[in-house]
Structures are given as C-alpha cells and as structure tokens.
Symmetry: C2
C-alpha cells in the first residue's frame, strides 16, 4: 500500500465530507449517533470476534498486561459506549449559535457564529472505545474525523468503524465523515499530522512521549495535554479539617489521573499543626512522602525531595511536600514547577483566594476544592475529548465547544466602506 | 554575540516579566501606555535621528522605494503612534472578567476567567510604528512581548524601545515586559520561534513568504494571516443597485488590502443584466477583468480567467469574474478557492442569506455588505493586531480578546470528589 496516497485520499474525502457534516442539522447528526448506537448493539458478536483477533495477536506479541486490559472490549465496555452515544446525542448542539450581535457606527451588524473546526485527526493508543467516544464528540460538533488508533487494536477499530459508517448512512450523512486509518504502518501518523490542507486540528491522546513527538512534528495545530503536576496550597489560617480532607482526596481518590495532586504546599504557620495529621492520613492510605528540609524537620519519616520531585508527575502513591512562607512563595513555586494543569488553594481569606485565582497561570485554578474536580463531566461540559494544557484556543477540559470556533458574521443593508 | 544565548536571555526575562504584567492592575498598564506616549512625544528628535540613520543605510543598500517609504517615521506617523497609545489606554481591559459561573451537582461553582496568554513574539518587516502598535496591544492585554522588526529599521525600533522602557518604568512595571531584539542576525528569528518554554504565541506580520516560513518552522503556536482571496456573490434576484455598489466598493475602495474582493461571482439569472453595468463601472476605475467562458460571452473585453486566477490574491486593479448557476455553486466555488478570509453575498432572500452564512467556511461571512468592512476597527474591537485566517483560537480580526485566553476557575466550600 502507498501510505502517502492512502492518507491523502482519506484527507480529501474527509475535507469533502466535513462540508456535509457542517451543513447538516442537529436532528441529522443526532440520528447518526443513535443509529451508530443501534448498529454497535446489533454487532456485538462481530465486535467480540474482531476484538478476540486483536487480543490473540497481542498475546502472541507479548503485549504487557495493562495494555491487554485496555484493549479488551468487554460487554460492560460496549454498554458504556452505547450509553456514551446516547448522552452525546442528548447534549445541546454548539453549532450555529450567534452571539454578541451589535450595530456598528457604519450601520452594519457584527456578531459571531459558532462553527465546526472542519477535519479533526485523533491519534490514540490501545483503547478501542476511544474510537466511538472521539468520533461521536467530533460529529456532534459538526466535524469530520480521521482516527488513528493503536495498531494492536486495528481489527476492533475497523469493526467499530463499520458500525459508525452504518449510523452515518442511516442518517444520510457522508460515510467519510468518520474514517479509521486501516493500516498499521507508522508512516500514516507522520502523514496525518502534515496535511494542513485536509486536517485542521490534531488531538493526540496517549502517553507524554507520543504527545511530545506529535507536537514537535505536526504542521497542523495540536490540542494537547502533556502532564498534570497539580498542587494544593494550604494557606495561613486555613480550616484544618477542610485542608486535610482536600489534601487527602486530591492525592488518594485516584493515583493515575492527571488531575491528582503531586505536590502539597503548606504555609509555614500551619505546618507544625497540620503536617503530623496529614502524614498520619497519608500513611493510612499507603502514600510515600518526599519533603523539603522544613517538612523533614517536622516529619523525619519523609525522604528528601530533590529538585526533580517538584517537576514529577508520579501517577502513584507518592507525594512531594514543601513548606512555604506564604501565598507569594506558593504562587512562585506553582508558576515555576506546575504543568499549568490544575492548582487549588485552601484558605479562609478572600483577598488571598482571589490573588491565587488571578496569578496562578494554570488551566484550572480552584479555591477550597479538590483538584480531582478538573474534568469535563464535573465542569458540566457533558463529555470531554481531553484536557488541554495549551494556552491558545482551549484550556482545561475540552468538550464540544472546544471542537468548534467562532467566525464573524455581518448583516448589512447594502453598506459600503467610505 | 552568541545569538542563542542572547535570545534565551530575552526569553527568560520576558517569562519573568509576564507574571508581573499579568498581575498588574488596569490602571498601572494604562499608566505605562500613556507614559510611553509622553516619552515618544519628548523624544521626537532622537527618533528622527535614529530613523535618519536607518534611512541612510537603506538608501546605501539600495532598499526599494516602497520599503523606504514604510521605513520613514514622519511627524504625522509619530502623531499617529501617540494617538494609538491613547486609544489603546482607553479600551476596556479584557483581563480578569469571570463569565459563566454555574453551580454543579457537586456544589462547586465553575466559570471561566479571561487571562493573558503570557509571552507573545511579534515578527514584522520594515514599518517601525508596528513596534508601538503591537507592544501596546499586547501590554494592554497583560502580556509580555518580544519584538523582532526588520533589520533595516533596527535603529528606529531601538529608539522606540527606549521610550517604551521609560513608560514601563514610570508605571513600575518590569522593563522586560517589552523587549526589542537588538541584533540584525537572522538566526534570532529561528530561535524566537523555537523557545516554547519562554514564548507562548508567535504573531508574524508581513508578506506571505515570511509567514509561511515561520508557520512551517515554529515550535510555538502561530496566529497567522496568510492571503485574502475574498469573494462577493451576487445572488439570483439581488437588488441591482446594491449589488453594483458593493461589488465596486469591495474591489476599488483600496486595492492593496487583504479584505479587498478578488473574485466576483454572479448568479446566471443576473449576469446578462448586471455584467455590462459592472464592466462599465470597473472600466471607469481602471480595473482589468478576467472572466470565465460565460462571463466572456457577455463581456468579450474580459481576458480568459485560468484556474490560477480563482486562487490569486491580486492586490491590484484586476478582478476575476465567474458566472455561477446559483447559491450552491457559489458556496462550492468559495469553499474550494477562498483563503477563508472574508466572503459576502448580496441577496434579498432570507433563506439563502442564512445558508451562505452557515456554509461558507470563512473567518468573516457577510450579507449585503462590502468585504472591506472586515477589520478590527469596523468590527468595534478598538484595534487589531492582525487578521487570522486560522481556525483555532481566533478567526478574523484579532483584537485584545485574541491576545488572551480563558482558564477555568472553581469556587468550593471544601468539596472533595467521591
């Protein structure tokens, strides 16, 4: 197969299909989502067969256990995909809303209309359910999609793609509105991210290595999520019970998520009273502590935190702890070491809360809440395609709105410029 | 000079300064803008001297006449810079606004706060007044700036930079909030666009060649404006007088601007009646016509338009004309050949107007108005840093809001995730 030619064909087809999708009605796109749901439900046997093929190949290739687990399409996971499609169909359509329509001195009226981005390329790893999740969100927002999943999930992804095609057909939408790259050739990724004529945005989902490589090589804008080095800062005078509850939840509610706290900052005025109680709570949860010198003066059981610890996304029951002089030092630490993901202050002081909110340059900044809330569902977006740690376009959880942009619309009555 | 080291130093200083600017009050930033205005007003002699140096070097190097013209800082251009600073100071501050604050089922309140982007790199060509325009908009929006002007304007740009530094000092802001790259070495540009740790966005202003090169090589997101291949479509049943007025204005009001119409599309039902009248009007303005076959059947004086003409940004008194079967063919032509800049329909029909608005995928889509209105001032943005033909982040004229983004802010009362 000539991969360059194949990808260019997918791109051209996607660009053409994107116009049809963008011009389609909300009802039509929802019909496609629900018809895809029915098609998947009716194809459980075919899906199981394709998935078994992927699993057998994975086992033969010695795929690691966590990857084998992610690859599996259990009946429960298929149920979740069906439920996801129903939910996306029920979300309000972001496309077409016109806002801010004002009359200018020339007499023209100027406002902005929310429109699809066009063609979105999704690059992801082993989980085949991402195929449905990502395609359904992009479609709902009026975009065409080219999906490049992991080669280990190729049979499953192609089986899912057939069901999506059936759904699109049932609604009268072009089948090329959702295309799965049907080759394990790695050159396909390189081509997908360098076709600015056919692809408007790339959304990579996977490990940091994958995302860094794609960002470095892409000729198309990338909506990306690198790491989540999240902080909780316990301010001078914070409510002790609230501080302990938030610090414990932010670290221990789940270890592997990007909005999990990785470094705890404690105002020196609270350290003596709070650190021993926190250490006890963390010990109960099996969390290893790594502390600065002042932390270790109070908690000798903590090991030494190095410079590298302040930058580390552990994704594990390990926590870096630093005692800081107060708000200013906490903000300075966060703006130096944070990955711009999510940071929270626990405080009673309104002025300091607002200063933290303004000055911490992260995609989510919180007052008196666990960092674990940074998520599209908890923020009321209904669903998320990912969490962006970029500054342009979309910051934080990216839902349907992040898959659209605003164009200017002008209504005149024959005005010309003088 | 070690350019790598020099640029890294500028970057580090800009990053540090960006925090101070982001945290500063509206009053402080406005004070810096007005103090810069006073400093420039008081430095007219120094500016003239520096500019004379650039002009002499330009003349010695045989700089082309239009470049020499753009390089010159006449007293009127300095007046315009001063007036621009006053106007930017008077614009409302976009930073800090919190919108969409809603309470979620968990009890947390989630909204979004408008925040500066951070550090903006501006790359431009010979006009030294861009130094003040770009720096003032970025500063007003709470950003630090690194400016890389044309080497032919280096002395003028450095003289202007001293006045900006004086303005920043007077307001107590860090001087590194606005830095001009003080070396003609071309390697400086290559470095500026590959320092993602220090620079958040690049805004190139100049010819298409410059912008394409920067977009291809940048490791930092680029807000860019490529070409403006703008269309007016005269619909079936359009008001003839309005159609002629708009088609004439869109082409002839100015030839060198990106929002000038380059291709006129006419519904076949109107061609016989309108084209001769239009041809007469264009002949009066000295505009050369290039037409499709059906246009030439009516206007034999038009030369043959080739495929290349549909893609051409003439920036000159030349117009491509095509007769199309109707709305659908017009949208198809525009979505195929347009540069996604600005396109307008002249129509009486509401349904077709709305369809054109929805389906034409350009940054500005107009009904019954001249494409020449696509501009930050006419849209009420107060000022513009440029016009974006990208789809992510900002489309169309980019004002202060386009130099900011939205972060999520969360107010809790101790909520943790369960």
């Amino acid at each position: 197969m000539d991969v360059d030619q194949y990808m260019a064909d997918l791109g051209r087809a996607a660009r053409a299909a994107s116009r049809g999708v963008a011009a389609s009605s909300t009802v039509t796109r929802n019909r496609a989502l629900l018809a895809t749901r029915d098609a998947l439900d009716g194809a459980r046997a075919t899906l199981a067969e394709a998935n078994a093929e992927d699993l057998a190949r994975g086992a033969a290739n010695g795929l690691a256990a966590p990857l084998m687990d992610r690859l599996e399409l259990t009946p429960a996971r298929i149920d979740a995909m069906l439920e996801g499609l129903r939910q996306v169909a029920e979300l309000p359509d972001p496309v077409g809303a016109i806002t801010g329509m004002n009359t200018m001195p020339s007499g023209i009226q100027v406002g902005r209309m929310r429109v699809p981005l066009g063609v979105i390329g999704i690059i992801y790893e082993s989980r085949p359910n991402v195929t449905v999740e990502a395609a359904s969100l992009c479609l709902k927002a009026g975009n065409a999609t080219i999906l490049r999943g992991g080669s280990e999930a190729l049979a499953s992804n192609c089986a899912i793609a057939s069901c999506i095609a059936e759904g699109l057909r049932a609604a009268g939408l072009p089948e090329a509105a959702v295309q799965v790259v049907n080759t394990p050739d790695r050159a396909a990724v390189g081509r997908l991210i360098t076709m600015p004529d056919y692809v408007d945005v790339i959304v990579p989902r996977g490990g940091k290595g994958l995302i860094e490589r794609i960002s470095a090589e892409s000729r198309v804008p990338v909506i990306k999520h690198l790491d989540g080095v999240c902080h909780v800062y316990i301010d001078d005078g914070a409510d002790a019970e609230m501080a302990i509850a938030i610090a414990l939840n932010a670290k221990t509610q789940r270890y592997g998520t990007c909005n999990t706290m990785e470094t705890l900052l404690v105002a020196e005025s609270e350290a003596q009273a709070l650190l021993p109680r926190l250490a006890q709570a963390y010990a109960g949860a099996g969390v290893e502590l790594r502390g600065c010198e002042r932390t270790r003066a109070i908690l000798p059981q903590a090991t030494v935190a190095t410079e590298q610890d302040w930058r580390e996304e552990y994704l594990a029951p390990i926590l870096a702890v630093r005692v800081v002089s107060g708000l200013e030092a906490a903000i300075e630490h966060i703006n130096t070491y944070s990955s711009l993901h999510t940071d929270s202050i626990v405080t009673r002081d309104h002025g300091r809360a607002m200063r933290f909110l303004r000055e911490v340059d992260s995609s989510s900044v919180m007052v008196n809440a666990s960092t674990r809330f940074a998520d599209g569902f908890e923020y009321g977006l209904g669903a998320e395609i990912g969490i962006s740690t970029d500054k342009l376009h979309a910051r934080g959880p990216v839902g349907l709105e992040g898959l659209t942009s605003l164009k200017y619309v002008v209504f005149g009555e024959g005005q010309v410029r003088t």
